[in-house]
């Protein structure tokens, strides 16, 4: 008890020195609290985002791997280096998986997981139907060109590529040239991103087609309806872009509006204008494809070469998961079910999730480095101060041990002093750190996002892409093939940072500081001999 009493007296006696020690500990504790809070916030944000994340995954051909293998083969075949002309784009496209294949892999799902799918083709307008956005000048113009173009697909919609025509040109990404994009959906889940809570689509007239029906029924955009004076119950006639005599009649069951207005710039091709998107059930869509296969029409070019005009769908199959663990299990299990190594399982949601945390993770990492540097430098200063402190109080140690106080008790008194000063400074520092950690984190995060955004904008600018900003202030780089990066919604704020874990970690930091300072005291005191100290003093 008297040790604590003496320690307290000693603290009040040496105010200036203890204030100096306290200030150093305060700086360490504020930076520790801020850094640990940022780290905790990053962890909390990670968990929160993850728990609310609807994980979806797709199986796709691994082009990167194929490229690498082709490159290896090229190297082994020839010593003359990389020969671009030897690249086989058919190999790079890979063979498409069929619906049966995709369904086979659903066996790798757990009960809480699910799936949906869609198919897409492009059809031409025929009869009186005019695609939205057609002017007299531009009609029958470049919309049928085969340049690479912006991808105006809606969420959940498969990429618009005509593999047959692309193969005929020897190009991997040749796009379809029809006027309309026709997409068939397996269930309402497949359209949730469009018509769901966060979607921008809404049926304003009529109703959604029946997903279980194979009747040729569809929904069209309000723009297209107005443009062609169409209403619910009317029928539209569409033609195979490769064989105009092959036509299909679709009955309009509903008209939708899309609050994301179409951009002229992004829709150089009519089928990519959201207004020219026509949606139907996958059953009806599948029936349409089968009808085309049955017709088996062919076209002949000027050289007399015959090409199949059968409509070929681009399929998108999406697996949905209750959590990330299920996704990871699925990713392994599908290969056991026979999926070739040429295919990969990927989740754009997880990728977007990881991207969204990038600034926070970077900030967390930087903050931790800063904290370790402050802790290291502060620790060294504390040790030095304590060594000087002990040298100054050598006489006191000598007297106390000369009148019978054990060295261990003297050391304990010194450590108690360090403990009290450190704890008081830690409590004040932690309080300050807790109070400032949230605004500090958000300010630093804003700077980090701004920095990330600037560099991304710079890259997009260099590539000539337009940098758009959405109303939410989130980063929304333009979409499409060839873009530098996809849109990233960064985690841009944290609501709370300090919690029990931060407090416990701070307590450990305090303990560490006490230990290193106390160790200096302990070593010095144990080396002192009272007789020598008192003789020197005399």
């Amino acid at each position: 008890m008297y040790i604590i009493k003496n320690a307290l007296k000693s603290i009040t006696r040496n105010k200036l020195r203890n204030i100096l020690i306290g200030v150093i500990v305060l700086i360490i504790s504020v930076s520790a609290c801020a850094a640990l809070s940022i780290q905790q916030a990053a962890e909390a944000a990670r968990e929160d985002t993850l728990s609310s994340l609807n994980v979806t995954a797709q199986i796709s051909f691994d082009r990167k791997k194929a490229m690498e293998e082709m490159s290896k083969n090229d190297d082994s075949d020839s010593d003359e280096g990389f020969d671009r002309g030897k690249f086989d784009f058919d190999v790079l496209q890979g063979s498409s998986l069929t619906l049966d294949d995709y369904m086979k892999y659903t066996k790798a799902l757990t009960k809480s997981d699910g799936y949906y799918y869609s198919g897409a083709i492009s059809l031409d307008a025929t009869g009186d139907l005019i695609p939205y956005g057609t002017s007299e000048d531009s009609e029958d113009s470049d919309s049928k060109s085969s340049d690479s173009q912006e991808n105006g697909n809606m969420p959940g919609q498969p990429p618009q590529m005509d593999s047959d025509s692309s193969k005929s040109f020897g190009m991997p990404f040749q796009v379809n040239q029809g006027d309309f994009s026709i997409t068939g959906y397996s269930s309402s889940d497949a359209m949730l991103s469009m018509f769901g809570e966060d979607g921008s689509y809404k049926i304003t007239d009529g109703s959604m087609f029946d997903f279980s029906s194979s009747d040729y029924e569809c929904i069209i955009s309000n723009e297209l309806a107005v443009y062609n004076n169409l209403k619910v119950g009317d029928t539209i006639k569409l033609a195979n872009p490769s064989y105009e005599k092959e036509t299909y009649k679709l009955k309009i069951t509903g008209i939708y509006t899309n609050s994301d207005s179409s951009s002229e710039e992004n829709n150089r091709f009519r089928m990519n204008d959201p207004a020219n998107n026509i949606y139907m059930s996958y059953k009806a869509f599948s029936k349409l494809i089968k009808a085309s296969e049955k017709a088996d029409n062919k076209t002949t070019d000027s050289d007399g070469n015959e090409t199949s005009a059968v409509l070929s769908e681009n399929m998108a199959f999406t697996y949905t998961f209750a959590n990330v663990e299920n996704y990871e299990k699925f990713s392994k299990k599908v290969y056991d079910l026979g999926l070739s190594d040429d295919y990969k399982v990927s989740s754009s949601d997880l990728q977007a999730y990881e991207n969204s945390l990038t600034p926070l993770n970077t900030l967390s990492s930087t903050a931790m480095w800063f904290f370790f540097i402050v802790l290291g430098v502060g620790g060294i200063i504390l040790i030095t101060l304590n060594i000087f402190n002990l040298r100054e109080r050598k006489y006191e140690v000598g007297v106390l041990t000369a009148i019978g106080m054990k060295k261990a008790k003297v050391a304990l008194q010194f450590i108690t002093e360090i403990f009290i000063v450190t704890m008081i400074a830690m409590i004040i520092g932690s309080s300050i750190g807790s109070a400032v950690s949230v605004p500090l984190t958000n300010t630093l995060l804003a700077n980090q996002i701004s920095s990330s955004q600037s560099s991304q904008d710079k890259v997009n600018d260099n590539f000539g892409f337009k940098n758009d900003k959405s109303d939410s202030g989130m980063s929304e780089p333009p979409q499409g093939f060839g873009r530098v990066s996809s849109a990233v919604k960064y985690v841009d704020s944290v609501s709370s940072a300090s919690n029990i874990f931060v407090i416990l970690e701070l307590a450990l930091v305090g303990l560490f500081l006490i230990l290193i300072s106390g160790l200096a005291a302990l070593v010095s005191i144990m080396r002192y001999e009272p007789l020598k100290i008192l003789s020197n003093r005399s």
Binding site: K9, V399, A402, I403, G404, K407, L534
Partner: protein
Amino acid sequence: MSKLKLNNVSYRYEKSSENVLDNVCMDFDAGKIYTIVGKSGAGKTTLLSVLSSLARLTGGEILLDDQNVAKIDRYRFRSKYVGVIFQSFNLLTHLTALENVVLSMDISGKSFDTPKKELALELLGKVGLSADEAKRRVLKLSGGQQQRCAIARAVISHPSMILADEPTGNLDAETQDEIIGLFKMLASEGKCVIIVTHSADVAAASDVTYELKKA
């Protein structure tokens, strides 16, 4: 039976080839005042350091009530069995006289029936420090007052031996008499008082005088 017995006690400083104390034999009994005299450098203060376990013997043994002192924890020995009055007092200058005495009581680990402060004030009063002086910082006390405080600190925990190094060295004749009176009082209480001194008056007041000669 002697209270304290020195059997062929020798002591040599580190890095020195000569003994400061060489085969010293002495007996000390309880209730008596002993003075140790000798020329400067004869080893008087060293002997006191050896007796208080501040210095470790290089030869011989010291027996306290027939028990080898080397086998007693030296911190425990200093806090319980011996009260040391240093030549330069060695008081903690940042504390008051009272606090110095109370600290010694705390360190001894002994229990007291009366509150420590009360006991310390009473003893300080006995050695001639008023309550007001007792509450002053040591640095604000005169040499004589500091000496009295050092005596109080040494005896407060009722050690069986009092070791004093030149306890009257800086004192005027009147104060010196008072201090000698104090030692006589302690001896009358059954304590063994050992005083290292140059003073003939102090030596004359003692029961036994040992003279140390340079080894």
